[in-house]
Symmetry: C2
Subunit: 567 residues, 2 copies
């Protein structure tokens, strides 16, 4: 379990603040995460990595000269939002385009691709690359479905080394892709980990047993065995990994022995001592060796072996120096370029012109966000229990965190006289960044879509609000890929948007229309109890939830109802 924290809801925020304070010579705070303290040289492709917190040195600890230019920092075990990835990319991109790269997890893929598309829409060259080195997570003929673990370090470092060596973005992407194509990892876990603020471990491994292929977020493994000696463990890992030697690979490979958390360096050295005997047996030459913590999972007891087949070009790039808080290699020149200041995320928001009518609307909306947050706080437990039936039980926590962040973002802006759009877009970005999970992405997009429809000019009349809700409805269906009947928040949102539209068309005022829409939404949310949800990673026990309503739909209806009373 984690032993040191203040408010678990602010765990990654405070950890990042302390990280930047401790390593201010190497990194600076930027909206969405951290960036190198020094500016990206003009025309050099920037490498932006990222992922959830709890995996140090991944991801902030891998930012610095010779490694990543920036890292988007999500909440504990949760993807950073698309906005965060975009913000970090904007902070480091300097005319050479940007590679956005991270482990191949559904939430990260969604958010990194979203950021890529926004950058491209602005005319910035942007590419994504998702690391897939974990051989336990899908079969060899489905490598693009595999998860990314310790292999990330290799991909990130080669990408950065190539960029610093003068390669252009296409070449950087090609070289990083070659690394990902030639690295294979398998891990084992002896115990689970307990997330900050949680009362129970995220997962457990029975005492005296070992899970093979368990993921760094506790994703189920492919096998469970008794404990092995170091020699037996080394052989099991080695044989599985070397069996996947890529076609055309030579006899030189970099070896990583990674510790996940509670397995200490002395044990990793013993494991490597047995691994090197196997390398000799099989005629594999160690081009380099890393033994230590490359990617972790809090205090999970586990270890992994990576083999990374290299050619001469890659080997030379790997040997170049890097200097980050979590990975230092070789000797760097002292002069690392122009030094930049920290950027406070709230100060970075541009507040443009707005009409007095729109500013008045923004103040009203800030008040409504407080109502949203209060409503969620009151129902957080109940929502969590509902979510625990099919999912991981964190819906209430995530919604509370997101709503609170939205309130804080809105309150922080009010002094600067924002219009309705500016306030809603910033509140949505804060919600998505802090909530984590699918609900965070969806609620962030919902506020964003309404904001962009109402603008910073007009006093939002009932028709504009109804149009904003309709735009949000369409945006969420596109992002989430869910339809009515899939037992999601969409089941409550669509009838709400429909009823609000009809009421406004018939001439009703906003308060009356919203009230009718909230009632329709509540009925629809309760009716989700009769639906069978789609299975998915977020809902491992979906079938158990038949007879209970969907927490996302219920929370939407609760919020809609509470807001109706304030209008």
């Amino acid at each position: 379990m984690s032993f040191i924290s203040n408010d678990p809801a602010r765990f990654s925020e405070q950890a990042t603040a302390g990280f930047v304070a401790a390593h201010g010579d190497l990194v600076r705070a930027v909206p969405g995460g951290v960036a190198r303290r020094t500016a990206t040289p003009q025309g050099q492709p920037a490498v932006v990595i990222g992922g959830g917190s709890g995996h140090y040195p991944a991801f902030g600890g891998l930012v610095g000269p010779g490694l990543a230019h920036g890292a988007a920092v999500g909440n504990v075990f949760a993807s950073p939002s698309g906005q965060q990835v975009y913000d970090v990319a904007k902070a480091v991109e300097n005319g050479g385009g940007v590679l956005l790269t991270c482990g191949n997890y559904a939430g990260d893929v969604l958010n990194f691709n979203q950021a890529r598309d926004r950058l491209r829409a602005e005319g910035i060259a942007a590419e994504t690359l998702f690391v897939t080195d974990d051989i336990s997570s899908a079969k060899a003929d489905e490598r693009d479905k595999r998860r990314g673990i310790a292999g990330g370090l290799a991909v990130y470092k080669i990408a950065a080394a190539a960029a610093e060596a003068g390669k252009d973005l296409d070449q950087v992407v090609a070289l990083a892709g070659k690394v990902n194509d030639n690295i294979r990892t398998l891990g084992v876990a002896f115990s689970g980990c307990t997330l900050p603020g949680a009362h129970e471990p995220l997962f457990t491994v029975p005492e005296g047993r070992m899970g093979v292929g368990v993921g760094i977020h506790g994703e189920p493994g492919i096998d469970e065995t008794g404990l092995l000696s170091s020699q037996e463990l080394a052989t099991m890992l080695w044989d599985a990994v070397i069996a996947e030697k890529p076609d055309g690979a030579g006899d030189r490979a970099v070896i990583f022995v990674n510790g996940l958390g509670a397995v200490k360096n002395e044990e990793l050295f013993i494991l490597f001592n047995d691994v090197r005997a196997l390398a000799e047996r099989d005629g594999l030459v160690a081009a380099d060796v890393e033994v230590g913590e490359l990617v972790t999972s809090f205090e999970m007891a586990g270890a992994s072996l990576s083999l990374w087949w290299v050619d001469e070009e890659i080997e030379q790039l790997w040997a170049t120096p890097s200097y980050t808080s979590g990975y230092r290699k070789g000797a760097l020149q002292a002069d690392q370029g122009e030094v930049l200041d920290d950027v406070d995320a709230s100060a970075a928001v541009e507040v443009g012109d707005a009409t007095e009518e729109s500013r008045q609307a923004a103040r009203t909306i800030a008040g409504l966000l407080t109502t949203v947050h209060r409503t969620i706080t009151e129902h957080a437990d109940e929502l969590g229990k509902l979510d625990a039936i099919a999912g991981d039980g964190d819906h209430g926590i995530g919604m509370e965190r997101g709503a609170r962040a939205a309130v804080e973002a809105a309150d922080g802006l009010l002094d600067r006289q924002p219009g309705a759009q500016t306030l809603l877009v910033q509140a949505g970005a804060a919600w998505a960044a802090q909530a984590g999970g699918t609900s965070g992405v969806l609620w962030g997009a919902l506020l964003d879509a309404i904001g962009r429809t109402v603008g910073d000019e007009v006093k939002p009349d009932p028709a504009t609000v109804a149009a904003g809700v309709r735009a949000a409805d369409e945006s969420l269906r596109r992002i989430g890929g869910a339809q009515v009947g899939d037992k999601t928040m969409i089941d409550a949102l669509v009838p709400f948007a429909d009823a609000l539209g009809k009421a406004v068309e018939s001439g009703k005022d906003l308060a009356a229309g919203w009230t009718e829409a909230a009632q329709a939404s509540t009925q629809a949310a309760q009716a989700t109890a009769d639906l069978m949800p789609k299975l998915g990673r977020a809902r491992p026990h979906a079938e158990k939830s038949l007879g209970t309503a969907d927490p996302g739909a219920i929370s939407f209806a609760l919020i809609a109802t509470a807001v109706a009373q304030d209008l």
Copy 2:
């Protein structure tokens, strides 16, 4: 607990082998531990550190350019032997003398001082310095009784930086001493650790509680409290440490936030985030910050805060680059001097001339050592249980490990035709190096003293053997500081030496005299059950052992009896 090992008795040996293999560019294997891969420049004072295994990066991980020249590597949580410290010093000393420095623990002090005296006897300038930064381990007016923990890194690095800056040994010692005088540390533990091969934790902390001032080997703390928030914990540690600000110290200090094992970097960053607010409150300027694992205790969950008040000279030395596997700072020049090969400990032994009679005696003695090992193996459980009553229950394990090492050292030498002295001295050194604990030191010294008495020239006649045992008896009383009646191995050794001397004087042959002496020894060992032992760190529950015999005395008598049957 530890999850990856082969034979727990070979844990530190295999960990060191893997460590050297993984970091062969930085370190090389030498007898007694590890040394920098590159030679100490002529005339530069060498810095040799050391201690038990299980504290990575201490101690091997702190060897390399800009940090220690060598590290003596003991067994798990056990001091390296005097021989090991001496051997590492000899491997790195190059005309500038040597500083031997480690944490202030009884075993380490004994062995490091022993090595210092041997080096001085050879005309090599040698000094010792024992780190005493742990404020919980003795009161402020007894600082020389305090233990050394995370502060060691500061002492070792400044000593090495001073040496590399051209200071002579006296200046190096003075600067390192100034560091030790100005650094204060306090730690907490949330859980204990389980040593390799052990079935139970070395110590435990009740769930939801926190031990204040617990040592890195589980030494009892000064207080136990409920869990605190990070802010409260930071305040508690800060207030205690800053209250000990040294007289004359300025307002600049280096801050260490150290993780003991299972408390991860994210949590340490949160703690530092709260610490820096207190620094601001109290007007202390952070001259530098280190957050991470500086000294560990396997997977013990704990953290410590160090404040190290610095002046300009010290600050400049601290800022110089270093490049070791466990601590890298700044940019080093690529050229680090002459590269040296690994040294195999057994190949390094010089086998001088010996008479055929003495060589014959050495072969006999090698056979007797096998008997010693077999006897201990048969009784290891029983000895462990006896030891568990008053001590930590590892007497059987330690004796088995030592005796096995002695057998292996002897067998490894036989091909090279050693005399009796050479074989016994080397067997004794191996026993001391591998056994750990007081019994290892004593048995090593016992074999050494007998060997030096019999020499490599003569066939050992009964009188010579008796004189050797008498010399061993005197040596052990001097080293261990124990007398007859203190309930130690001395209670069995003294009557053995007396009886053997008398029997030989009266003209009996060795077999007959030894048998009589073994009987006297056995009676005396059994009679230790009636003695009340001295309290000491190794015997926290000494009073419980009234009525049971001393395991050290019993094991001596068992060995003496078994050997008698072979003579």
